[in-house]
Every structure is written in C-alpha cells, then in structure tokens.
Amino acid sequence: MSGPPVAVEARDLGRRYGTVWALRECDFVLPTSRIVALVGANGAGKSTLLSIIAGTLSATSGTLLVHGRPVGRGRSTDGGSRVAILAQDKPLYRDFTVSDMLRFGRSTNRVWDQRRALSWLRRFDVPLDRRCGKLSGGQRAQVALAVALGSRPEVLLLDEPLANLDPVARTEVTGELMAEAADDDMTVVLSTHIIAELSGVGDHLLLLDAGRPVLTGDVEDLLDGHVRMTGPRADQPPGPGVIVQAQHTERQSTFVLRRPAAPTAHAVVAPGWTAQPVALDELILTYLRASARAPHEREAAA
C-alpha cells in the first residue's frame, strides 16, 4: 500500500551542539501539499529541524530527504526541491526598500512570482518604497513572507511566523497562507510553541519534545484516534487502547487513550463511564506531559 506523496522524510535524524542533543532519533514523514504544524516547547528543536530541512544546518546523524532527495548543507537547489525558510526574527536587509527586497528575491531565485509577492504586500498594506529598517515588526514579517512566497517554494518553512503579529493579523495571515498553500500544492511547515495558534491552521501535526518526535500524523486521524474516558475510579480503562495519560481522584479516573489501529466500536463497557473526543490543544498537552514524565519513570524503574 502506498501512502500520500512524501514531502519530508527523516530517518534517525540527530543534531548535536557540543555535548547537547538538540534533535535525536527523529523518524517521521511529512506529506506533500499540507500545512504541517510543528509544535514543541521552547528549546524542543523546532528551529534546528527547520534549518536542517532548509539545508542551512548540517545533521550530526541520520538522513533527511526532501521529495526523496537527500538534503545537504550549502547545496544549491539546482535539480532538487525548492525550499524556502522564514527565520524566527524575520531577517531583512535594513537599508533595502521593500521593492529592493522583492528584487533580491528575483535576483537569487530561479523562479520568481512578482505578482504573488506584490499581491501579498498589498493585502497587508505594506508600502513598497519604505526601507525595511523603518517597518514595524508586523510589516517586516509580511515582507519576509512575501519574499518567501514569491520564490514559489515546494516546501515553505515558517519558524514562529505569527510571533510579531497582532491577533487580527494572525488570523488574516494564517487564512491567506492556507489559501496560498492550497492554490499552489505547497507544503507548509509552521512551527510554534503557542498551542492556541494552531486552531484550524495545521492539517498535519509533528510534536517535538526535547528533540524527539512524540506525536506525528494527520490531525483529523489523531483526533479520531484518541478519546478521553471518564468514570469511577479504576486502574484500567473500560475500553481498548494505549493509555497516554491517566489521572485519578478519590472517586474518579480519567484516561486519555490512543485507540487501536483497527477500527473497533468504542463501546463503554462499564456503567458510569463517558467517552469524549479530545481537542487538539488538549491532545498536545497530554503528550507533552506524558513525555516529560517518561524519563522520570524510566529513572525510577532503573
């Protein structure tokens, strides 16, 4: 059985800074033409992973493939997939005007869509003749996005792209980004540590914790595949599935379960138990907590 086309594939990917592993044992697959939410706490390895995918940072171990081709640092995209990255601080040439930045994009890319870049800037009322050093943080982010979108990348990597934007602009930008991605068969990987930002944005999730992927998959599938069961206090849940999280009070137990892959009717087998769907932010927090607990449990077991 062949799955959806793969945009990015990591095989045992790792990156070490000195003695500290920023990424470790990363195995995942990101499908094409999707908006991938890359989520993790500060220092989880999101920027490191995006930089490796962009080819600006070398991996210490493992392999990373973009559209089936290995990524190497400093390699031009001649013949390979075109990847654009928008860094967290949205770097721009301060003494360039916005028009100059578009010309920069045109000068350094094999393919350039001036209309797309211009239309993005017009949508957000960014003046073309103003120097980038005199733009507001939000406007700088829009210019950086325009340059990234104008190069028509197959994979667009956005590192905390919404950080400098006000709530209204965030909604607008995410909406426009989703439209651009849908129009262009572009894979967008969007990193964030603010879980609330994810609502309605990503259709695929990659959750990193301490440099390791702890949850990855289609958002709908992940939500369908998890359930929260609440009932009288018990050591085990009444239904099948892997326990991701268990919480107990004196009278009540709550389990977050990962359902088995095979479709089974999710029957509540004991009276007094209720099954509820899990929201995305709740699911992410559950996995992050479980992941944080795991090392302690391993230590205790040892």
Partner: protein, 354 residues
Amino acid sequence: MSQMTRASAATDRQDDPGYGGGVRGLLWLTWRQHRWTLIGTLVLAAVLVGWMTYLAVELTSLWHQCHETFCPEDSPQGRRLGGSSSLVLTLTVLSQVVQWMPLLIGVFVGVPVLTREHEQRTLLLAWSQDVSPQRWLWTRLTLLGLFVAAVTTAVAGVSDRLERLQSLVAPVTLFDYGPFLNTAMLPAVISLCWFAVGVALGAAIKRTLPAVFAVAAGFVGLTYLVRWRYPTLREPLTAHRPIGGPNLDVLRDNALVVKGGMINYGLDGPSGAFDPSGRELSGVELQQLCPPDNGTGRTFACFAEHHLQQHLQYQPGSRIPEFHLIVAGGYLALAALALVTLWWIVRRTDLSAG
C-alpha cells in the same frame, strides 16, 4: 509535474525566470549592498589619480626646466623639490595614502562582505535562496575583486609614474621602501591581498569592529615585517668605495644600500673604515692614523689622503623587478591562503533559523 504543465503554470502565475540566481542578479545584489562603499572608493581613487596625475605633470615640467637631470639645490626648481616645500609634503602624503590604501580596501570593502550579513542575521536569508552559499560568495568576491583590481591598478599606474619622475628630478632611489612599495603592480596586489584577508577575517570573526582591528593589526605587522626583510630577500652585493672619492657607478640607477657606507662614531671610537688592502681598521688604529679634528673637517681629508675605503652591501637597481615579484608573490600567497580559509569557513558555517 511535466515540463509543459510547469511552463503553463508559470505563465499563469507570472513566474519570472529572469536572471534569478545568475550573475546578473548577483551583480545587482552586490551593487545594491555595497554601492556607497564602491562609490566612496571610486571617488577617493579618482581624487588620488587626478591629484597624482597633476603632480606628475608638474614634475615633468620641472625635469624639463632642469635640462632633464637633477635640479640643483640652489635653483628655484631645486628649492621646490627640497626640504619641506609644499610640493614635497604633498608628494609624501600621497605616497603614504597609496601605501595605506590596501588597509582601507581591506577594512571598508573586504570586512563587511560577511560581517554585515552576520550582524544583521541576513546570511540565512541569502543562503536559503536558490543560489548556493559558495556561488553567492564567490560571485560577489569576483565582482568586488575585479572592482578592487581595476581601481587599484589605476592608482598603481599613476603612482608608479609619479615615483619614477621623482627619481628623475631628485636624488631618491626607487629601491627605498616607499617608492619600492608604490611602484609596478605592488599597490594593486597588496590591495587585493588585504581585500581577501579582510573578507576571511570577517568570516572568521563575524563582527565588524573586531575584524577591522584584526585587519589593521595584521596590516601594520606585515608592513613592518616586509620593510625589515625586503632588503635581504636576495644576498646583497658588496663593493668598496674610496672615502672622499666619487660615488660608485653601482650605486646609481636606484640601488639600495643595505649595510655600510658610513663611518660610525661609537663609544669605542670610529669604525667602518678599511685600509687599501680591505682590512677593517679598529677605532684606535683609525684615531692614531687620523686624530679627531674637533669639527674642522680635517679628519675626513685625512681618510682620503690615506686612501681609506668604505665597505658596502647593496642591492642593484636592476633587481627591483625581481624583488617586486618576490614581494607580490608573498602577498598573493597570503591572499590564496585567505581564500582557502574562507572557502573552508563558509563550508563549515551552520545557520539556525532560531
């Protein structure tokens, strides 16, 4: 996606294959990023070339007025060429500017190529486009290097002419350090060298100000090393000159005296005089032969009467081109080392988006 579909999509989207990623695009980018530095360098070089050309015309005129030989010291022309006249001061200042030009090139053109990108964090932006980091770097270096070569070659050409004219109208030798450094291809080669070193140090240090200090320290250090070592790059020739006799022919035509040629009066008495057989006389022997005259000038005549000689080590003027090649070769080797280091640094540079 097939080529046909891709082309069709490109038309719909206003895709512009244009000059993206090519030399033309990088030429624009290089100009846009460095235009004020390039314009400033060009203006400075134009002023320098214009001023030196004007002075060269002046010196040519003086040379003709002095019947195409050295101008006598007591002539109006000689007075313009002697002491601390404004002409001499101007020539000295311009000579110094040409000697320090490579430092200016290294600091203002070389260092910012990478430090500015590091400081503004734009390197990730530049290196994540379709142009590979190596291509981005080497195309820009080639363009800036060609500019530096063109500008400094123009300065070197006029400087060479000016120094040669000075050696025609006044008793100066082209083998002296200043004229030696300002003639032939050396100003251009040294400038290119410090441009490359500036870029490499900028890449290594990543901050403009420390890199500028490193370039300045390196320039001053190497300048003094060259000044100290260049007279003996080849074994000097030796000669004896009768004291009070005419100047040796070998010392004409821009020779450089490396050692000797003077009677030194030290604590142990005078030294540096040789008898006709070529034996150096001790201070006591010399004072016995020609007692001190308390400033009457009799001693010097006494030396001449006894046919005493001075021993000289010198480099003949005919060796200037060879010495130029040796020094230029050294600077080119340093430039090559800087470029190899730069390639290595860029190859190893990791950039993170966070």
